[in-house]
């Protein structure tokens, strides 16, 4: 089985971004914990610190983050696992009964939402540890729109398969990539501020 290297490298780039986000978050918390331990004068547990540094971000923002992360997972899965072009052994078309259903794509989306639900329980609350400016919050609101564009691109590719349209795929990827950048931006910026 030969894998298309171009798409896989781009997937690696997405994964690398996610790892950067995770590391930024871990380092940020670790540094804050160290500073607070040094200055607090009173012992505390990490969960107390996490409770203490939490900033309410607002119901609208939290809801949009929840939606965005779920859409992100769906968009990622659709882009890489809908057609056999990238992972011939792992794709939607391997399940012909579902793929030929009228609501096949919706079923796939719901299947992704099951692990997505677990992710969305944890990931959005991470934003509570950062001071996120209003303009950044408004910028991040673009994410669901970008992800919908990405999903539509993937759906189009699924419909026209076996025809391959690299422009559409690239558009789907770029919107997915930008969305991920926006989603982890508060975490990376917070880490940057803390490092300065």
């Amino acid at each position: 089985m030969s894998l298309p290297r171009y798409e896989i490298s781009l997937l690696m780039l997405l994964l690398a971004l996610m790892v950067i986000g995770l590391l930024s978050y871990q380092t940020y918390i670790w540094r804050i914990e160290n500073i607070v331990r040094r200055t607090s004068g009173r012992p505390f547990q990490k969960k107390d610190l996490k409770r203490a540094i939490k900033i309410p971000q607002g119901s609208n923002f939290n809801t949009m983050m929840l939606i965005s992360w779920n859409l992100f997972l769906i968009a990622l899965a659709f882009l890489y696992f809908l057609t056999p072009g990238i992972f011939p052994a792992w794709n939607f078309f391997r399940f012909p009964q579902v793929a030929s259903e009228s609501f096949g794509l919706a079923i796939m989306g719901v299947m992704i939402l099951i692990p997505g639900f677990v992710v969305s329980l944890h990931v959005p609350q991470v934003y509570g540890y950062y001071l996120i400016s209003k303009w950044l919050k408004e910028l991040i609101l673009l994410t669901p729109l970008l992800l919908i564009v990405s999903i539509l691109c993937s759906v189009h590719l699924g419909i026209v398969y076996p025809r391959i349209d690299s422009i559409i795929w690239n558009t789907g990827y770029v919107t997915l990539f930008v969305s991920l950048v926006l989603l982890i931006l508060p975490i990376v910026l917070g880490f940057g501020e803390e490092m300065r």
Binding site: P43, A52, F61, R196
Partner: protein, 589 residues
């Protein structure tokens, strides 16, 4: 500390806007929750000028269920004119005055007549159900009470209260106000939400220029105190700038308003009035920002952020509970020389001068933060160079409450503050909040930073100097504007009482002269006793009822019968269509 911030009047509303600025994003299609203000504070704007309230888009009508919302102070009077007609006919005062033209005495008189005129009290209670006073009662019950965790007194476990129930059942207002209130409750505090989500204190924001803001703090506080004597209530009063303002109101007139308000606020006994006054001098903000009022409002808001921030150091989350802070504000020194001095200190609310400074967290140190807030030792003038929001000598404070945001140890904060204000550790209270990795800031509340040394009124930059100037201006205005003060649309009884209040023996003028002497002598008690317009100015003050009395010999009727006839006649006149039309025409004109 999570206060319900109550902006009163034009300036109060503009500053409050900063506090209630939504930190959440706004979605065009659907809002998933309530607007999120910094520190989760709630707030309401109380205004008397309907046009000003309607000419802006930030606040909606609170009585219609909008949040953030405004409440027109005389909203209750519109549909029920009897009490107001009586007040206009007897005193020449109007509950529906649109703005108060910087006459602090006007609103003071309005509220006092409800205290001392028993007929009016009875009439108001009858017309407005449970409200003794249709202005302050309305603002408290419908404007503020829903946002605060005031659990004693009339408040029951279901979250309702007797006044509100009565209000809900009142026919005229049921449709709009009750629906609005229910909507606010659902929006604001959520059905079944724990009381802890409500505000634990009230913070009034008002200009002390003599208008709406100046007049409403005390009456609303009195209403709150009837329910709960301990509920923490603080007031931030903004002294207007020197010279002429945008409305060309003379400085003396504004200073007179300010001094009447400060006098009233600072001579209410513990459990009767506010718990602390936080003065802000607009002149300092003018020095900092010119006439950029928006920047000034923003600065006032930012300066209180360390107090409002809920991100306490882990394990210290109860440190700034409003009740605990109230206790610190009112702490008394056992070391004071005389018990009388201790008693006075305990009795009257303190002045807390806010001093604020912020810096990037990679610039400067804790020492620069303290110096930015308090200024350099001995360097009190010119104003606006440091973070003092009211002129004062920080070294004279008898307590200091330090609110910091940043990563500092308590020891380094204590050391830095002690270097500057020389207080013992027991008199410095530190409240640390976590920083945001970008900025660090510090709010220092200096308690009573004045007194102790004579002659300080001539030292520029001290609190004594600024207050001395305000009092001097106020006295000048009283002396040179007798006609402007008394020759208004008042009825003779009001004019007489105001004359007593301003110019009578032991009236305001005399009290202000004595206050100046106290400032010159370095006394810690600037104002000595409360002053009233309709009570206490002279021992034999005639009331409206007394003034209308006619001896039985002159009429051949007994007093009770005479009263009955007058009441019946008055009722008929006041409720006649012709009279109502006339009153409407007068009001509209």
């Amino acid at each position: 500390m999570r206060p319900c911030v109550v902006g009163i009047g034009g300036a109060g509303g503009k500053i409050l806007k900063q506090f209630l600025h939504n930190e959440d994003v706004s979605l065009e299609v659907y809002q998933f929750g309530m607007p999120l203000a910094f520190g989760n504070v709630k707030g309401v704007w109380l205004e008397s000028a309907i046009q000003d309230a309607e000419d802006q888009s930030f606040y909606g009508d609170l009585s219609q269920g909008n949040y953030p919302g405004y409440l027109i102070c005389h909203g209750l009077v519109d549909s029920k004119p009897l009490t107001n007609s009586y007040i206009m006919a007897t005193y020449g005062l109007n509950l529906k005055a649109r703005g108060y033209d910087r006459r602090a005495e006007y609103l003071k008189a309005v509220f006092e007549i409800f205290e001392y005129d028993s007929d009016l009290k009875a009439m108001s209670s009858k017309e407005f159900k449970d409200y003794k006073n249709p202005l302050s009662g309305y603002m408290w019950m419908l404007g503020i009470r829903h946002f605060v965790d005031i659990t004693k007194g009339k408040y029951d476990a279901s979250g309702s209260n007797t006044g509100l129930k009565a209000q809900r059942s009142s026919d005229g207002l049921k449709s709009s106000v009750s629906k609005g209130l229910m909507a606010i409750r659902r929006l604001g505090i959520g059905e079944g939400q724990k009381p802890s989500k409500l505000c634990d204190s009230i913070l009034f924001l008002a200009s002390l220029g003599g208008g709406t803001g100046t007049g409403f703090i005390n009456p609303i506080t009195s209403y709150v105190r009837e329910e709960n004597a301990d509920f923490p209530i603080f007031a931030m009063g903004i002294l207007t700038e020197k010279g002429s303002d945008d409305r060309h109101a003379p400085e003396g007139k504004r200073d007179l308003g300010a001094i009447i308000a400060m006098h009233d606020l600072l001579t209410k006994e513990s459990g009767m009035g506010i718990d602390a006054l936080l003065p802000v001098d607009n002149q300092i903000l003018v020095e900092k920002y010119g006439k950029d009022f928006s920047a000034m409002d923003s600065y006032i808001y930012r300066s209180l952020k360390p107090l409002l921030d809920s991100r306490d150091y882990p394990g210290f989350h109860l440190q700034d509970d409003a009740q605990a802070i109230r206790g610190i504000f009112r702490e008394v020194d056992d070391s004071r020389a005389s018990s009388a001095e201790r008693e006075k200190e305990k009795q009257y609310p303190p002045v807390l001068v806010p001093c604020y400074h912020a810096q990037r967290d990679y610039v400067g140190s804790i020492d620069t933060l303290v110096e930015g807030a308090l200024g350099k030792p001995g360097d009190l003038f010119p104003l606006g160079k440091d973070g003092r929001l009211f002129p004062c000598d920080p070294a004279k404070a008898d307590r200091a409450l330090i609110f910091t945001r940043g990563f500092f140890s308590a020891e380094e904060i204590m050391e830095a503050v002690q270097k500057r204000i020389y207080l013992p550790k027991s008199k410095i209270k530190i409240y640390r909040k976590l920083g945001d990795s970008k900025n660090e800031d510090m709010l220092i509340l200096l308690r009573n930073p004045y007194g102790g040394t004579s002659g300080e009124h001539v030292r520029k930059g001290t609190l004594e100097w600024r207050l001395y100037d305000v009092i001097t201006q106020a006295i000048d205005y009283i002396d040179n504007n007798k006609t402007n003060i008394l020759d208004f649309d008042y009825k003779p009884i009001t004019t007489k009482m105001l004359e007593n209040y301003f110019y009578g023996k032991n009236g305001l003028r005399d009290e202000l002269i004595r206050s100046k002497e106290r400032l010159e002598n370095g006394d810690r008690q600037i104002f000595s006793k409360p002053l009233y317009i309709f009570k206490g100015a002279t021992p034999s003050v005639p009331t409206a009822q007394d003034a209308c009395k006619v001896g039985p010999a002159a009429t051949g009727l007994n007093e009770a019968r005479l009263k009955e006839i007058v009441k019946t006649e008055l009722k008929e006149i006041l409720t006649s269509d012709e009279c109502v039309d006339k009153i409407k025409r007068i009001i509209n004109s």
